[in-house]
């Protein structure tokens, strides 16, 4: 028996772990600060959270070119990790800015809110940064548990509690599937490490082994739940609708990206050799996800539900990229995730501004006449909608072009045709938002806008990126490609 060896860490490793350390410390600091008295309406939590996120991002950014594998591959620092760490920190920072005033307005300004936000971010980073199924599972649970609480954070509201309960029950179920899948994979291959799993599978392709097949399928169920792929999407509309709007934005971008990060690492690193086996399955799930998401979104009158179904559809587009597979598919997925996060956060950010005090004005009819009374806000929303619909010159168009192009390259032309036809269906409900804003008169009391400087900064930042990546996507494209090459 070997004596326990503390892992030997060099300076680079500490910087690489900086994000995890900073987020853990910031989270605890936020909880401790709750013991100190604060005046009502203080922004202490938001400021601490922002500083923590900045520290986390800077620490990882400092060693962005390094490639390290720590704790036997439990934590891997590579281009992929850096890309997602920065993405998650940015998503969380935007969410903090959007929440800054929103939580005060809706009376949920407790220190736990930001602590949970950081905890979820930490879980997302672990999911992306791990090359071991056990740590991926730990990260997923860390993220999910924090999100369950955040979804139910408006305790006074029944729909918020209902959403949290639904999300929790189905999520716990999915976690069980995932864990069972991991166990079966471990049984089939003798390891939970993705790299060693790939080596094992290359030596002895165990396709006939039902344990491996079942394990893979169960893993897919678990991830499919987190990214809201059909038929594991049932929780999405309820959770999105019930959650505080800022949390909805955060989880629609962050949780989906984290789920895809883990999925990508698994399919590229561990199952890359078996591409021909899982590609048809993923293609079918992609077709179902796009179609069900878009068609159901057509029927929604609540913006949060509509965007929930739209986020399901976007999971479908992302699955097209994953199905294309390989480095091309991976970099297209990364590109699309960044674009999707920005435009979706932007759209939810606009929704979070609507309404006074605790009221929530997120019905499609609430937007009526917004184009006349708040032209700037309406113009921003229009651009986010056009981007989600994939209309140039916005980032969403570039994302779709890139995703569909790698799928065409992989020979999946029928899948691409389904995808582009879906985007025609989708444009209908995105256009309806502009119809409401510009072409309809408000019925009843017109909606108030709760202007707040941090939220405006967040809106401007997301808007600028949505336009910039639509016009000049070169940098992000290169970044996505470089990050995915880090996997190999």
């Amino acid at each position: 028996m070997m004596p326990f060896q503390p892992p030997a860490l060099i300076a680079v490793d500490w910087w690489a772990l900086g994000a995890v350390i900073a987020l853990s410390a910031g989270m605890m600091l936020l909880l401790l600060l709750e013991f100190l008295p604060s005046r009502p309406g203080s922004s202490r939590g938001a400021i601490v959270a922002l500083l923590t996120l900045a520290a986390a991002a800077l620490s990882v950014f400092r060693v962005r070119d390094a490639k390290r594998s720590l704790f036997e591959g439990m934590f891997v620092h590579d281009g992929f990790t850096v890309f997602f760490t920065l993405l998650f920190c940015a998503v969380a920072a935007v969410a903090v800015l959007q929440s800054w005033d929103y939580v005060k307005r809706t009376r949920i300004n407790h220190g736990e809110y930001y602590a949970l936000l950081l905890s979820a971010t930490l879980g997302m980073i672990l999911m992306a940064a791990s090359s071991d199924l056990i740590t991926i599972f730990l990260g997923l649970e860390l993220m999910s548990l924090a999100l369950y609480v955040l979804v139910g954070f408006r305790r006074a509201r029944l729909d918020s509690s209902e959403a949290a309960l639904k999300y929790f029950l189905l999520g716990a179920f999915a976690s069980g599937f995932l864990l069972y899948g991991i166990a079966l994979l471990y049984g089939a291959t003798g390891t939970t490490n993705l790299g060693r799993m790939a080596v094992f599978l290359a030596d002895s392709p165990l396709l006939g082994n039902p344990m491996l097949v079942m394990g893979g399928l169960l893993l897919l169920v678990g991830f499919g739940f987190k990214v809201a792929a059909v038929p594991f999407h049932m929780w999405t509309p309820d959770a999105y609708q019930g959650a505080p709007t800022t949390v909805t934005g955060f989880m629609s971008a962050g949780a989906k990206a984290a789920g895809f990060a883990a999925l990508l690492r698994v399919v590229i690193v561990a199952l890359g050799g078996l591409q021909d086996e899982w590609r048809p399955l993923l293609s079918w799930i992609a077709i179902l996800t796009m179609t069900v998401g878009n068609v159901t979104a057509l029927l929604q009158t609540n913006m949060k539900r509509m965007l929930a179904y739209s986020s399901i559809a976007h999971a479908g587009y992302l699955l097209v990229a994953v199905a294309a597979g390989g480095l091309d598919g991976g970099s297209a997925a990364l590109f699309y995730l960044a674009v999707y996060s920005v435009m979706n956060l932007g759209a939810f950010g606009v929704l979070a501004l609507l309404g006074r005090e605790q009221e929530e004005r997120v019905l499609l009819s609430d937007l009526a006449g917004l184009g006349v009374r708040h032209p700037a806000l309406a113009a921003a929303m229009t651009l986010f909608m056009l981007s989600l619909g994939g209309i140039p010159p916005t980032a969403g168009f570039m994302g779709k072009v890139y995703v569909f192009s790698v799928a065409v390259k992989a020979g999946l032309v029928p899948l691409v045709i389904v995808g582009v036809l879906n985007s025609v269906v989708a444009i209908f409900y995105y256009l309806r938002v502009t119809v409401a804003m510009y072409m309809e008169e408000p019925q009843g009391e017109p909606v108030e806008v709760a202007w707040a400087a941090p939220a405006v900064i967040a809106a401007i930042a997301t808007l600028a990126l949505t336009i910039w990546w639509g016009i000049q996507a070169h940098d992000l494209l290169e970044q996505a490609q470089r990050s995915i090459f880090g996997l190999l």
Binding site: G371, V372, P375, L386, I391, P392, P393, F397, V401, Y402, F404, S405, V408, K409, V413, V416, I417, V420, L421, S423, V424, I427, F428, L431, T434, V435, Y438, M439, Q472, A473, H474, L477, E478, Q481
Partner: protein, 510 residues
């Protein structure tokens, strides 16, 4: 001045003006109107060098500029013009100021957004004509939808939302398949040559088998057929035209529909000539049906604007017939019909708009005997109507004559059928004119109608000039278009031979 990025300036100047108008704080409606007019007139002035400095005899793209855009994908910001693009761009820049001035009194709400969108639309249209990179082309092509959609949806008639969404969905449904085809071409080219590029020139040199061409052609042709619109894809057009504000209708008819025929000429025909030839009977058949159907439906319309809208379907059928006659006369005729339809139908929509502004109705039955209160208006209407029918001496005649000539050379039967369309167009136009302008004034409201104001005369004067100039002395226009059209025909023939050489190779299993 030789290196000045002339085309970029033409594309981005209206966009910058639009942005300025959109954000200018505290400007009154009057200031906005003047600013928009000044910007569009300046744009027209900037575009005139295209006419003087374009060298028709010189092959290749002129005024070209190229910069890397997405080097990772191989897409580049590549603009350039040939004779066809120059003429269509000039049509755009000539009509935009006319439309803007015509809207001065018609648009009462949210002028700032209205003029900003019109100028943004101009930028997108010019970008579409000048793009030599297929991805860039697609960006402009789709971006064009947004301002038009908003123009119809916000400033349109009672059913504007329905019409706007229908317009957007139809056009987009057509074009997404074109995007797939573009991506396929891109990877096919990359597999053959190893160079990632979306450049049109590279695709012009790309060998494609007949089977490949068929699918790609259908994807492109579908997108353009909806835009033209060819029968039976035309159903969005009457709705969009009727509901759109006058300015929107004019731009839609005069320029946006030309995007479809331009697309055939620039992309679908030369890129996939074998498939194009294979489908010629179908396309010509649909064009002929469109000519007759459009004319017959126009005849029974009670609504003036709908009548003009259906006459567009008929005229665009002539354009397609001319292009698909695939000879010098037919192509030139198609090109001339595109331009003269832009001028004449644009003017007709403006004229209908003038009436609508005064009476808030467009029903033919609500008028009658208008010659008496509005003699100037009636004379202008007469000239425009005759040019739309194709009376010799007006612009419509040149185009239609050349189309018929070209069609006759390809297949006399086509020309015979199409010629009935000319007769029908005289029937529906003259009948409409008679009911609106002749006879006694049947409605008391019409007796006090004011004639054209000075501003309105200013709007129609350049159009009347264009009608006669293009009808009497079209040679300068034809001189600019013909070499480009000849080169397109030559390119199509060369590519058909290239595919034919590939045919034996196709039979061997790979």
């Amino acid at each position: 001045m030789h290196d000045f990025p002339w085309l970029s300036w033409l594309v981005f100047f209206p966009l910058l003006s639009a942005a300025l108008i959109a954000v200018l704080p505290g400007a009154s409606g009057r200031a906005i109107r003047w600013l928009a007019t000044a910007a569009s007139v300046a744009e027209l002035a900037f575009s005139l060098p295209l006419w003087w400095r374009y060298q028709p005899a010189q092959p290749g793209w002129q005024f070209a500029e190229q910069k890397p855009w997405l080097p990772g994908l191989g897409a580049s910001y590549h603009l350039g013009a040939d004779g066809v693009a120059v003429l269509l761009a000039l049509l755009t820049t000539v009509l935009t100021p006319i439309v803007i001035v015509s809207a001065w009194s018609a648009v009462e709400k949210r002028e700032r957004e209205f003029y900003a969108l019109l100028l943004a639309l101009e930028a997108a249209m010019l970008g579409t004509f000048f793009s030599l990179d297929l991805l860039l082309f697609y960006v402009f092509w789709e971006a064009m939808l947004i301002p038009m959609y908003l123009l119809i949806g916000v400033w349109g008639g009672p059913r504007r939302v329905y019409a706007a969404i229908k317009f957007f969905l139809y056009t987009m449904a057509g074009s997404v398949l074109m995007l797939v085809a573009i991506l396929w071409l891109y990877f096919h080219n990359r597999a053959l040559t190893g160079v990632p590029t979306f450049a049109l020139d590279a695709f012009y040199a790309l060998p494609l088998t007949a089977a490949e061409q068929t699918w790609l052609f259908l994807a492109f042709a579908f997108a353009f057929a909806i835009k033209v619109p060819m029968f039976p894809f035309h159903t969005w057009l009457p709705d969009a035209h009727v509901e759109a504000p006058t300015a929107g209708s004019v731009i839609l008819a005069a320029v946006l529909l030309k995007m479809g025929t331009f697309g055939y000429l620039r992309f679908a025909m030369p890129l996939f000539p074998s498939a194009s030839a294979h489908f010629t009977p179908w396309i010509v058949g649909l064009a002929l049906v469109g000519i007759l159907y459009g004319a017959l439906v126009a005849m029974v319309q009670p609504d003036l604007k709908k009548l003009v809208a259906y006459s567009s379907v008929s005229h665009l059928g002539f354009c397609m017939l001319g292009l698909y006659a695939l000879n010098a006369q037919g192509m030139a005729g198609g090109m001339m019909t595109m331009l003269s339809h832009g001028v004449s139908t644009g003017a007709l929509f403006l004229l209908v708009g003038v009436l609508y502004e005064r009476r808030h109705t467009r029903m033919i039955a609500d008028f009658g005997g208008l010659w008496k209160p509005m003699p100037v208006y009636a004379s202008v209407f007469l000239v425009v109507m005759l040019s739309s029918i194709g009376l010799p001496g007006t612009n419509g005649f040149v185009g239609e004559f050349l189309v018929l000539l070209g069609a006759f050379r390809s297949n006399p039967l086509w020309a015979i059928i199409a010629a009935t369309g000319v007769i029908l167009s005289a029937v529906y136009m003259l009948w409409m004119f008679q009911r609106v302008f002749f006879g006694p004034v049947t409605h008391a409201e019409n007796e006090k109608l004011s004639d054209l104001s000075r501003r309105e005369r200013l709007v129609f004067a350049p159009l009347i000039l264009l009608i006669f100039w293009m009808g009497v002395y079209p040679q300068p226009i034809l001189d600019r278009a013909q070499p480009t059209l000849d080169r397109t025909v030559a390119l199509c023939k060369a590519r058909i031979q290239m595919s034919a050489r590939m045919a034996p190779a196709e039979e061997n299993p790979r």
